[in-house]
């Protein structure tokens, strides 16, 4: 649950979403998959909660820059030479044992990196790569264009990759 930061809040959100799902089950008409429908409800509850918390903490949105839809480079420019080619290229991870790549410490790092993302990117990477929804489902759930979805996914994955690179080096 990475739409909201605090585990206590997350539990309340899941519970409220769960109850909303149960209460409105008769209204589920099968136009979307049940999974998408449940996610939709959960997202709405989480968003309402986030708005409420943003009112309580008005500065939270100021100190955290959100460039989710921006065009700034996702890889530190100093890693490229003047010709735009790699100066310090990424290491191959193929020699790192699978047990390390998927260790609970690694997963914890990844979780922390996702939690630190701006909400727009966090939503997309969570729905796509954790929950396994496809691009069209995520666009519909979040009411965003295919391009916005891709840009947010790109920035989110790049940020998590960077965190992994720092950890796995």
């Amino acid at each position: 649950m990475t739409y909201v930061r605090d585990i206590g809040v997350a539990e309340e959100v899941v519970q409220e979403a769960w109850l909303t799902c149960l209460r409105s089950l008769d209204r589920f008409e099968g136009r979307s998959s049940l999974k998408t429908w449940i996610f939709g409800i959960t997202m709405n509850v989480a968003r309402a909660r986030r708005r409420k918390e943003a009112r309580i903490l008005p500065f939270a949105s100021f100190w955290k820059r959100d460039d989710s839809d921006g065009k700034r480079p996702t890889v530190d420019p100093s890693r490229f030479g003047a010709d735009g080619m790699w100066a310090s290229g990424p290491d191959s991870w193929s020699s790192i044992p699978e047990s390390r790549v998927l260790s609970s410490e690694t997963l914890q790092r990844v979780k922390t990196a996702i939690e630190a993302l701006p909400a727009k990117q966090r939503d997309v990477i969570t729905l796509r790569d954790v929950a396994g929804l496809d691009a069209g489902e995520v666009c519909a759930l979040l009411s965003i264009t295919a391009e916005n979805q891709r840009v947010r996914l790109h920035r989110a994955r790049a940020a998590v990759r960077k965190a992994l690179e720092e950890y796995l080096r």
């Binding site: 585990i7 539990e11 899941v14 519970q15 769960w18 109850l19 149960l22 209460r23 480079p73 996702t74 890889v75 420019p77 490229f80 010709d83 735009g84 080619m85 790699w86 290229g89 990424p90 290491d91 191959s92 991870w93 193929s94 790549v101 998927l102 690694t106 997963l107 990844v110 979780k111 996702i114 990477i125 790569d129 954790v130 929950a131 396994g132 691009a135 295919a146 891709r150 996914l153 790109h154 994955r157 790049a158 998590v160 990759r161 992994l164 690179e165």
Partner: protein
Amino acid sequence: MTCRQVVELMTEYLEDALSALDRARFEEHIAGCDGCRAYLAQLRTTKRVVGKLADEPIPEPLEAELVKAFRDWRSTSQG
């Protein structure tokens, strides 16, 4: 294409959203560039590791609450 440009196209490549021309130029670059191939592999690994978070167990107190909520709902909805 430079490496700096190629890394920013990687998600579009993985999502199959590049035009045929850009895709061909992308693949041509990747074929000759160890750094960009490694970066693409890292992004694929990142996606895989993120996917593992779905297997994380639900915290026990939360699971208990949810089961209770479901039981309460069933007993009220079935009268």
